[in-house]
Amino acid sequence: MFPIEKHHMATSIEDAVRALAEDETSQVIAGGTDVLIRLHEGHGDYRNLVDINKLDELREIRMDEEGNVLIGALASFTEILEHDVIRKHVPVIGESVNTVGGPQVRNRGTMGGNICNGAVSADSACAALVHEVDLVIQSPEGERVESIIGFHTGPGRVSLKQGDLLKHFRVRPGNYKGFGASYYKYAMREAMDIATIGCAAAVKLNGEKIGELRLAYTVSAPTPIRCAGAEEVAKGKPLTQETLAEIAKAVEADVRPRTSWRASMEFRLHVIRTLAQRVTRQAAERAGGTF
Protein backbone atom coordinates (compact mmCIF):
# COMPACT_ATOMS: atom_id res chain seq x y z
CA MET A 1 0.00 0.00 0.00
CA PHE A 2 1.13 3.54 -0.74
CA PRO A 3 2.02 5.61 2.36
CA ILE A 4 -0.72 8.18 1.66
CA GLU A 5 -1.91 10.05 4.76
CA LYS A 6 -4.59 12.21 3.22
CA HIS A 7 -6.41 11.87 -0.09
CA HIS A 8 -8.86 14.48 -1.31
CA MET A 9 -10.74 13.74 -4.53
CA ALA A 10 -11.39 17.20 -5.93
CA THR A 11 -14.92 17.78 -7.23
CA SER A 12 -14.18 21.00 -9.15
CA ILE A 13 -11.25 23.24 -10.06
CA GLU A 14 -12.27 25.63 -7.25
CA ASP A 15 -12.43 22.75 -4.79
CA ALA A 16 -8.94 21.58 -5.82
CA VAL A 17 -7.48 25.09 -5.50
CA ARG A 18 -9.09 25.56 -2.09
CA ALA A 19 -7.75 22.20 -0.85
CA LEU A 20 -4.27 23.01 -2.17
CA ALA A 21 -4.23 26.50 -0.64
CA GLU A 22 -5.57 25.29 2.70
CA ASP A 23 -2.79 22.82 3.45
CA GLU A 24 0.79 23.64 2.56
CA THR A 25 1.83 19.99 2.59
CA SER A 26 -0.66 19.05 -0.12
CA GLN A 27 0.41 18.04 -3.63
CA VAL A 28 -1.50 17.49 -6.86
CA ILE A 29 -1.80 13.96 -8.21
CA ALA A 30 -2.80 13.56 -11.87
CA GLY A 31 -1.72 10.47 -13.85
CA GLY A 32 0.30 9.19 -10.90
CA THR A 33 3.21 7.90 -12.98
CA ASP A 34 5.65 10.04 -10.97
CA VAL A 35 3.85 10.67 -7.68
CA LEU A 36 2.96 7.02 -6.97
CA ILE A 37 6.52 5.97 -7.71
CA ARG A 38 7.83 8.60 -5.28
CA LEU A 39 5.39 7.24 -2.69
CA HIS A 40 6.40 3.65 -3.47
CA GLU A 41 9.99 4.66 -2.78
CA GLY A 42 8.88 6.04 0.56
CA HIS A 43 9.28 9.79 -0.03
CA GLY A 44 7.35 11.78 2.53
CA ASP A 45 6.66 14.81 0.36
CA TYR A 46 3.66 13.32 -1.45
CA ARG A 47 1.67 11.96 1.51
CA ASN A 48 -1.07 14.53 1.30
CA LEU A 49 -2.73 14.39 -2.08
CA VAL A 50 -5.27 16.49 -3.92
CA ASP A 51 -6.52 14.21 -6.68
CA ILE A 52 -7.70 15.94 -9.88
CA ASN A 53 -8.66 12.79 -11.78
CA LYS A 54 -12.39 13.51 -11.73
CA LEU A 55 -11.98 16.97 -13.29
CA ASP A 56 -12.83 15.99 -16.86
CA GLU A 57 -12.75 19.63 -18.03
CA LEU A 58 -8.96 19.47 -17.57
CA ARG A 59 -8.69 16.63 -20.11
CA GLU A 60 -9.82 18.67 -23.07
CA ILE A 61 -7.66 19.25 -26.16
CA ARG A 62 -9.03 21.72 -28.70
CA MET A 63 -8.57 24.86 -30.72
CA ASP A 64 -10.36 27.98 -29.49
CA GLU A 65 -11.98 30.80 -31.53
CA GLU A 66 -8.70 32.75 -31.69
CA GLY A 67 -6.73 29.82 -33.09
CA ASN A 68 -4.98 29.00 -29.82
CA VAL A 69 -4.27 25.30 -29.32
CA LEU A 70 -5.35 24.29 -25.81
CA ILE A 71 -4.04 21.16 -24.07
CA GLY A 72 -5.69 20.29 -20.78
CA ALA A 73 -3.36 19.65 -17.85
CA LEU A 74 -4.89 16.20 -17.36
CA ALA A 75 -4.77 15.09 -21.02
CA SER A 76 -2.71 11.91 -21.25
CA PHE A 77 0.31 11.65 -23.54
CA THR A 78 -1.64 9.14 -25.66
CA GLU A 79 -4.61 11.52 -25.97
CA ILE A 80 -2.23 14.32 -26.98
CA LEU A 81 -0.30 12.36 -29.59
CA GLU A 82 -3.44 10.92 -31.20
CA HIS A 83 -5.39 14.19 -31.32
CA ASP A 84 -6.07 15.71 -34.74
CA VAL A 85 -5.54 19.30 -33.57
CA ILE A 86 -2.08 18.37 -32.25
CA ARG A 87 -1.17 16.40 -35.40
CA LYS A 88 -2.22 19.22 -37.66
CA HIS A 89 -0.90 22.30 -35.85
CA VAL A 90 1.76 21.35 -33.29
CA PRO A 91 2.91 17.85 -34.35
CA VAL A 92 6.25 18.20 -32.53
CA ILE A 93 4.38 18.15 -29.20
CA GLY A 94 2.84 14.79 -30.15
CA GLU A 95 6.18 13.43 -31.37
CA SER A 96 7.83 14.48 -28.12
CA VAL A 97 5.32 12.90 -25.78
CA ASN A 98 5.39 9.72 -27.88
CA THR A 99 8.95 9.18 -26.56
CA VAL A 100 7.85 9.03 -22.90
CA GLY A 101 8.18 5.59 -21.20
CA GLY A 102 6.04 2.90 -22.82
CA PRO A 103 2.37 2.59 -23.84
CA GLN A 104 1.00 2.05 -20.32
CA VAL A 105 2.83 5.08 -18.94
CA ARG A 106 1.71 7.23 -21.89
CA ASN A 107 -1.89 6.16 -21.28
CA ARG A 108 -1.73 7.67 -17.78
CA GLY A 109 1.04 10.26 -17.69
CA THR A 110 0.15 13.88 -18.45
CA MET A 111 1.95 16.84 -19.98
CA GLY A 112 0.75 18.85 -16.98
CA GLY A 113 2.71 16.61 -14.64
CA ASN A 114 5.68 16.40 -17.00
CA ILE A 115 6.10 20.20 -16.89
CA CYS A 116 4.94 20.94 -13.33
CA ASN A 117 7.25 18.40 -11.68
CA GLY A 118 10.15 20.44 -13.05
CA ALA A 119 12.06 17.46 -14.44
CA VAL A 120 15.20 18.55 -16.29
CA SER A 121 14.67 15.64 -18.72
CA ALA A 122 10.93 16.21 -19.39
CA ASP A 123 10.23 15.05 -22.94
CA SER A 124 7.49 17.64 -23.48
CA ALA A 125 9.64 20.55 -22.25
CA CYS A 126 11.66 21.14 -25.44
CA ALA A 127 8.55 21.24 -27.62
CA ALA A 128 6.84 23.52 -25.10
CA LEU A 129 9.86 25.86 -25.16
CA VAL A 130 10.11 26.16 -28.95
CA HIS A 131 6.37 26.85 -29.19
CA GLU A 132 6.61 29.23 -26.20
CA VAL A 133 3.45 27.77 -24.67
CA ASP A 134 1.54 29.65 -22.01
CA LEU A 135 0.44 28.00 -18.78
CA VAL A 136 -3.04 29.01 -17.64
CA ILE A 137 -3.03 28.68 -13.87
CA GLN A 138 -5.83 28.93 -11.33
CA SER A 139 -5.05 30.19 -7.83
CA PRO A 140 -7.26 31.35 -4.96
CA GLU A 141 -6.69 34.95 -6.20
CA GLY A 142 -7.90 34.09 -9.71
CA GLU A 143 -6.53 33.06 -13.07
CA ARG A 144 -3.10 34.04 -14.35
CA VAL A 145 -0.99 33.18 -17.37
CA GLU A 146 2.71 32.40 -17.27
CA SER A 147 5.02 31.62 -20.16
CA ILE A 148 7.00 28.38 -20.24
CA ILE A 149 10.00 30.66 -20.75
CA GLY A 150 11.19 31.15 -17.20
CA PHE A 151 8.67 28.73 -15.70
CA HIS A 152 11.43 26.29 -14.72
CA THR A 153 13.36 27.89 -11.86
CA GLY A 154 15.79 25.09 -10.96
CA PRO A 155 16.20 21.31 -10.99
CA GLY A 156 12.77 19.93 -10.03
CA ARG A 157 11.49 23.45 -9.35
CA VAL A 158 8.93 25.59 -11.16
CA SER A 159 7.29 28.89 -10.41
CA LEU A 160 4.07 27.41 -8.99
CA LYS A 161 3.03 28.48 -5.50
CA GLN A 162 0.94 26.61 -2.97
CA GLY A 163 -2.67 26.79 -4.10
CA ASP A 164 -1.80 27.00 -7.81
CA LEU A 165 -3.36 24.53 -10.22
CA LEU A 166 -2.36 24.34 -13.89
CA LYS A 167 -5.54 24.20 -15.95
CA HIS A 168 -4.19 24.00 -19.48
CA PHE A 169 -1.39 24.83 -21.88
CA ARG A 170 -2.09 27.38 -24.60
CA VAL A 171 -0.15 27.65 -27.85
CA ARG A 172 -0.80 30.98 -29.56
CA PRO A 173 -1.00 31.02 -33.41
CA GLY A 174 2.07 33.27 -33.65
CA ASN A 175 4.06 30.55 -31.92
CA TYR A 176 3.19 27.70 -34.27
CA LYS A 177 1.99 29.13 -37.60
CA GLY A 178 4.69 29.08 -40.27
CA PHE A 179 7.14 27.08 -38.16
CA GLY A 180 8.57 23.68 -39.00
CA ALA A 181 9.61 21.83 -35.84
CA SER A 182 11.42 18.67 -34.83
CA TYR A 183 12.41 16.80 -31.64
CA TYR A 184 15.11 14.20 -31.04
CA LYS A 185 15.48 12.26 -27.81
CA TYR A 186 18.92 10.80 -27.31
CA ALA A 187 18.69 7.96 -24.78
CA MET A 188 20.43 4.66 -24.13
CA ARG A 189 17.35 2.66 -25.11
CA GLU A 190 14.57 3.32 -27.57
CA ALA A 191 11.82 3.00 -24.96
CA MET A 192 11.32 3.10 -21.19
CA ASP A 193 14.26 5.45 -20.76
CA ILE A 194 15.06 8.96 -19.56
CA ALA A 195 16.65 11.32 -22.10
CA THR A 196 20.44 11.69 -21.96
CA ILE A 197 19.83 14.81 -24.06
CA GLY A 198 16.60 16.04 -25.63
CA CYS A 199 16.60 18.68 -28.36
CA ALA A 200 13.84 20.48 -30.25
CA ALA A 201 14.07 23.13 -32.93
CA ALA A 202 11.48 25.29 -34.63
CA VAL A 203 12.39 27.17 -37.78
CA LYS A 204 10.56 29.87 -39.68
CA LEU A 205 11.96 30.58 -43.10
CA ASN A 206 12.39 33.95 -44.74
CA GLY A 207 12.70 33.02 -48.39
CA GLU A 208 15.77 30.79 -48.69
CA LYS A 209 17.11 31.95 -45.33
CA ILE A 210 16.45 31.22 -41.69
CA GLY A 211 14.05 33.91 -40.48
CA GLU A 212 13.88 32.61 -36.94
CA LEU A 213 15.38 29.64 -35.13
CA ARG A 214 14.17 28.48 -31.74
CA LEU A 215 16.42 25.83 -30.23
CA ALA A 216 15.74 24.08 -26.91
CA TYR A 217 17.42 21.37 -24.86
CA THR A 218 16.73 19.17 -21.87
CA VAL A 219 19.42 17.72 -19.55
CA SER A 220 21.87 20.33 -20.83
CA ALA A 221 21.63 22.80 -17.94
CA PRO A 222 19.96 22.86 -14.49
CA THR A 223 16.60 23.41 -16.24
CA PRO A 224 15.24 22.86 -19.75
CA ILE A 225 16.61 25.80 -21.76
CA ARG A 226 16.40 27.85 -24.94
CA CYS A 227 19.65 28.79 -26.69
CA ALA A 228 19.74 32.56 -27.23
CA GLY A 229 23.28 32.61 -28.64
CA ALA A 230 22.75 29.94 -31.27
CA GLU A 231 19.38 31.41 -32.22
CA GLU A 232 20.98 34.85 -32.82
CA VAL A 233 23.73 33.32 -34.95
CA ALA A 234 21.16 31.55 -37.15
CA LYS A 235 19.16 34.66 -37.97
CA GLY A 236 19.23 35.52 -41.69
CA LYS A 237 21.65 32.71 -42.57
CA PRO A 238 21.24 30.52 -45.66
CA LEU A 239 20.31 26.83 -45.38
CA THR A 240 23.81 25.41 -45.67
CA GLN A 241 26.08 22.98 -43.88
CA GLU A 242 28.23 25.98 -42.80
CA THR A 243 25.25 27.59 -41.08
CA LEU A 244 24.52 24.36 -39.21
CA ALA A 245 28.17 24.17 -38.14
CA GLU A 246 28.02 27.76 -36.87
CA ILE A 247 24.86 27.00 -34.87
CA ALA A 248 26.53 23.91 -33.38
CA LYS A 249 29.56 25.99 -32.39
CA ALA A 250 27.48 28.79 -30.86
CA VAL A 251 25.34 26.40 -28.84
CA GLU A 252 28.34 25.46 -26.67
CA ALA A 253 28.10 28.83 -24.94
CA ASP A 254 24.36 28.41 -24.29
CA VAL A 255 24.50 25.08 -22.45
CA ARG A 256 25.95 23.88 -19.16
CA PRO A 257 25.85 20.07 -19.24
CA ARG A 258 27.24 18.06 -16.36
CA THR A 259 28.66 14.63 -15.73
CA SER A 260 26.28 12.10 -14.22
CA TRP A 261 26.09 8.32 -14.18
CA ARG A 262 24.16 8.49 -17.45
CA ALA A 263 26.83 10.32 -19.43
CA SER A 264 29.93 12.48 -19.06
CA MET A 265 29.90 16.21 -19.66
CA GLU A 266 32.13 15.80 -22.73
CA PHE A 267 29.88 13.18 -24.28
CA ARG A 268 26.80 15.31 -23.58
CA LEU A 269 28.45 18.27 -25.32
CA HIS A 270 29.16 16.07 -28.32
CA VAL A 271 25.51 14.98 -28.48
CA ILE A 272 24.36 18.60 -28.02
CA ARG A 273 26.49 19.81 -30.97
CA THR A 274 25.40 16.92 -33.17
CA LEU A 275 21.71 17.40 -32.41
CA ALA A 276 21.92 21.17 -32.99
CA GLN A 277 22.69 20.39 -36.63
CA ARG A 278 20.44 17.38 -37.10
CA VAL A 279 17.35 18.81 -35.43
CA THR A 280 17.69 22.33 -36.88
CA ARG A 281 18.05 20.82 -40.33
CA GLN A 282 14.96 18.66 -39.97
CA ALA A 283 12.94 21.58 -38.59
CA ALA A 284 14.01 23.75 -41.54
CA GLU A 285 13.11 20.99 -43.98
CA ARG A 286 9.72 20.63 -42.38
CA ALA A 287 9.26 24.38 -42.83
CA GLY A 288 9.76 23.73 -46.55
CA GLY A 289 13.47 24.47 -46.85
CA THR A 290 16.13 22.50 -48.72
CA PHE A 291 19.86 22.26 -47.99
Partner: protein, 159 residues
Amino acid sequence: MQKQTISLTVNDKKFTLDIDVRQSLADVLRKQGFTSVKQGCGVGECGACTVLVDDMAVDSCIYLAVWADNKKVRTTEGECRNGKLSPVQQAYVDAGAVQCGFCTPGLVMTTTSFLERNRDRKVTREEIRTGHAGNLCRCTGYETIVKAVEKIVDVAEEE
Protein backbone atom coordinates in the same frame (compact mmCIF):
# COMPACT_ATOMS: atom_id res chain seq x y z
CA MET B 1 -7.24 5.46 7.18
CA GLN B 2 -9.75 6.68 4.60
CA LYS B 3 -12.07 3.99 3.32
CA GLN B 4 -14.07 4.39 0.18
CA THR B 5 -16.68 2.39 -1.66
CA ILE B 6 -16.11 1.90 -5.36
CA SER B 7 -18.26 0.24 -8.01
CA LEU B 8 -16.62 -1.27 -11.04
CA THR B 9 -16.93 -4.15 -13.42
CA VAL B 10 -14.14 -6.68 -13.70
CA ASN B 11 -14.43 -8.95 -16.74
CA ASP B 12 -18.10 -7.93 -17.14
CA LYS B 13 -18.99 -8.80 -13.53
CA LYS B 14 -20.16 -6.01 -11.21
CA PHE B 15 -18.31 -5.40 -7.96
CA THR B 16 -19.00 -2.97 -5.13
CA LEU B 17 -15.97 -2.90 -2.88
CA ASP B 18 -14.92 -1.13 0.30
CA ILE B 19 -11.32 -0.20 -0.32
CA ASP B 20 -8.56 1.71 1.39
CA VAL B 21 -7.56 4.79 -0.64
CA ARG B 22 -3.91 3.74 -0.27
CA GLN B 23 -4.45 0.58 -2.31
CA SER B 24 -3.39 0.14 -5.91
CA LEU B 25 -5.76 -1.44 -8.39
CA ALA B 26 -3.34 -4.39 -8.57
CA ASP B 27 -3.73 -4.95 -4.77
CA VAL B 28 -7.51 -4.86 -5.00
CA LEU B 29 -7.74 -7.15 -8.04
CA ARG B 30 -5.45 -9.75 -6.51
CA LYS B 31 -7.47 -9.69 -3.28
CA GLN B 32 -10.60 -10.45 -5.34
CA GLY B 33 -8.88 -13.50 -6.79
CA PHE B 34 -7.65 -12.06 -10.09
CA THR B 35 -4.19 -13.42 -9.51
CA SER B 36 -3.22 -13.20 -13.18
CA VAL B 37 -2.35 -9.61 -12.22
CA LYS B 38 1.30 -9.89 -11.17
CA GLN B 39 3.22 -7.34 -9.20
CA GLY B 40 6.74 -7.23 -10.60
CA CYS B 41 8.64 -3.96 -10.26
CA GLY B 42 5.93 -1.92 -8.55
CA VAL B 43 7.00 1.23 -10.42
CA GLY B 44 5.48 0.89 -13.88
CA GLU B 45 8.51 -0.47 -15.68
CA CYS B 46 7.88 -4.20 -16.18
CA GLY B 47 4.21 -4.25 -17.19
CA ALA B 48 3.47 -7.58 -15.43
CA CYS B 49 0.46 -5.90 -13.75
CA THR B 50 -1.03 -4.60 -17.03
CA VAL B 51 -4.83 -4.58 -17.12
CA LEU B 52 -7.25 -2.68 -19.35
CA VAL B 53 -9.25 0.13 -17.77
CA ASP B 54 -11.99 1.26 -20.15
CA ASP B 55 -10.02 -0.66 -22.79
CA MET B 56 -6.76 1.30 -22.20
CA ALA B 57 -3.69 -0.62 -21.00
CA VAL B 58 -2.43 0.66 -17.64
CA ASP B 59 0.09 -0.55 -15.08
CA SER B 60 -2.30 -1.44 -12.26
CA CYS B 61 0.53 -1.22 -9.68
CA ILE B 62 0.70 2.57 -10.23
CA TYR B 63 -3.03 3.08 -10.62
CA LEU B 64 -4.98 3.96 -7.50
CA ALA B 65 -7.94 1.66 -6.89
CA VAL B 66 -10.18 4.73 -6.32
CA TRP B 67 -9.62 5.73 -9.95
CA ALA B 68 -11.35 2.51 -11.07
CA ASP B 69 -14.68 3.73 -9.64
CA ASN B 70 -17.36 3.40 -12.37
CA LYS B 71 -14.81 1.93 -14.77
CA LYS B 72 -14.65 -1.28 -16.75
CA VAL B 73 -11.60 -3.40 -15.91
CA ARG B 74 -10.36 -6.37 -17.95
CA THR B 75 -7.79 -8.96 -16.85
CA THR B 76 -6.59 -12.00 -18.75
CA GLU B 77 -8.94 -14.28 -16.76
CA GLY B 78 -11.88 -12.64 -18.53
CA GLU B 79 -10.49 -13.00 -22.02
CA CYS B 80 -11.29 -16.75 -22.26
CA ARG B 81 -14.89 -17.45 -23.18
CA ASN B 82 -16.64 -20.75 -22.32
CA GLY B 83 -13.35 -22.44 -21.61
CA LYS B 84 -11.88 -21.29 -24.93
CA LEU B 85 -8.78 -19.13 -25.10
CA SER B 86 -9.02 -15.71 -26.76
CA PRO B 87 -7.28 -15.37 -30.15
CA VAL B 88 -4.46 -13.49 -28.41
CA GLN B 89 -4.01 -16.16 -25.76
CA GLN B 90 -4.13 -18.91 -28.39
CA ALA B 91 -1.51 -17.09 -30.49
CA TYR B 92 0.85 -16.99 -27.48
CA VAL B 93 0.41 -20.75 -27.04
CA ASP B 94 0.86 -21.49 -30.75
CA ALA B 95 3.98 -19.32 -31.05
CA GLY B 96 5.55 -20.82 -27.92
CA ALA B 97 5.69 -17.30 -26.45
CA VAL B 98 5.33 -18.51 -22.86
CA GLN B 99 8.28 -19.71 -20.81
CA CYS B 100 8.19 -19.05 -17.07
CA GLY B 101 4.84 -17.31 -17.59
CA PHE B 102 5.16 -14.48 -15.07
CA CYS B 103 5.04 -11.73 -17.71
CA THR B 104 2.42 -13.49 -19.85
CA PRO B 105 -0.86 -12.16 -18.36
CA GLY B 106 0.37 -8.57 -18.65
CA LEU B 107 1.68 -9.10 -22.16
CA VAL B 108 -1.58 -10.75 -23.23
CA MET B 109 -3.48 -7.65 -22.09
CA THR B 110 -1.04 -5.32 -23.87
CA THR B 111 -1.44 -7.34 -27.07
CA THR B 112 -5.22 -7.38 -26.64
CA SER B 113 -5.25 -3.58 -26.46
CA PHE B 114 -2.73 -3.29 -29.32
CA LEU B 115 -4.92 -5.52 -31.48
CA GLU B 116 -8.09 -3.55 -30.69
CA ARG B 117 -6.40 -0.20 -31.36
CA ASN B 118 -4.97 -1.33 -34.72
CA ARG B 119 -7.95 -3.24 -36.01
CA ASP B 120 -8.35 -1.46 -39.33
CA ARG B 121 -4.75 -0.98 -40.36
CA LYS B 122 -1.57 -2.83 -41.15
CA VAL B 123 1.20 -2.64 -38.55
CA THR B 124 4.94 -3.02 -38.92
CA ARG B 125 7.18 -5.25 -36.84
CA GLU B 126 8.67 -2.08 -35.41
CA GLU B 127 5.22 -0.88 -34.30
CA ILE B 128 4.62 -4.25 -32.63
CA ARG B 129 7.87 -3.85 -30.70
CA THR B 130 7.24 -0.25 -29.61
CA GLY B 131 3.63 -1.17 -28.80
CA HIS B 132 4.93 -3.78 -26.36
CA ALA B 133 7.86 -1.76 -24.98
CA GLY B 134 6.17 -1.36 -21.60
CA ASN B 135 6.34 -5.11 -20.86
CA LEU B 136 9.51 -6.88 -19.84
CA CYS B 137 10.13 -10.58 -20.44
CA ARG B 138 13.33 -12.10 -19.11
CA CYS B 139 12.94 -15.53 -20.75
CA THR B 140 11.95 -15.37 -24.37
CA GLY B 141 14.09 -12.60 -25.84
CA TYR B 142 10.79 -11.29 -27.27
CA GLU B 143 11.13 -13.01 -30.65
CA THR B 144 8.35 -15.52 -30.00
CA ILE B 145 6.16 -12.79 -28.50
CA VAL B 146 6.49 -10.65 -31.64
CA LYS B 147 5.71 -13.80 -33.68
CA ALA B 148 2.58 -14.40 -31.60
CA VAL B 149 1.40 -10.86 -32.28
CA GLU B 150 2.19 -11.20 -35.99
CA LYS B 151 -0.19 -14.18 -36.13
CA ILE B 152 -3.18 -12.06 -35.22
CA VAL B 153 -2.55 -8.60 -36.70
CA ASP B 154 -2.38 -7.49 -40.28
CA VAL B 155 1.37 -7.19 -40.83
CA ALA B 156 2.66 -4.53 -43.21
CA GLU B 157 5.41 -5.43 -45.66
CA GLU B 158 8.78 -4.13 -44.47
CA GLU B 159 10.26 -1.40 -46.63
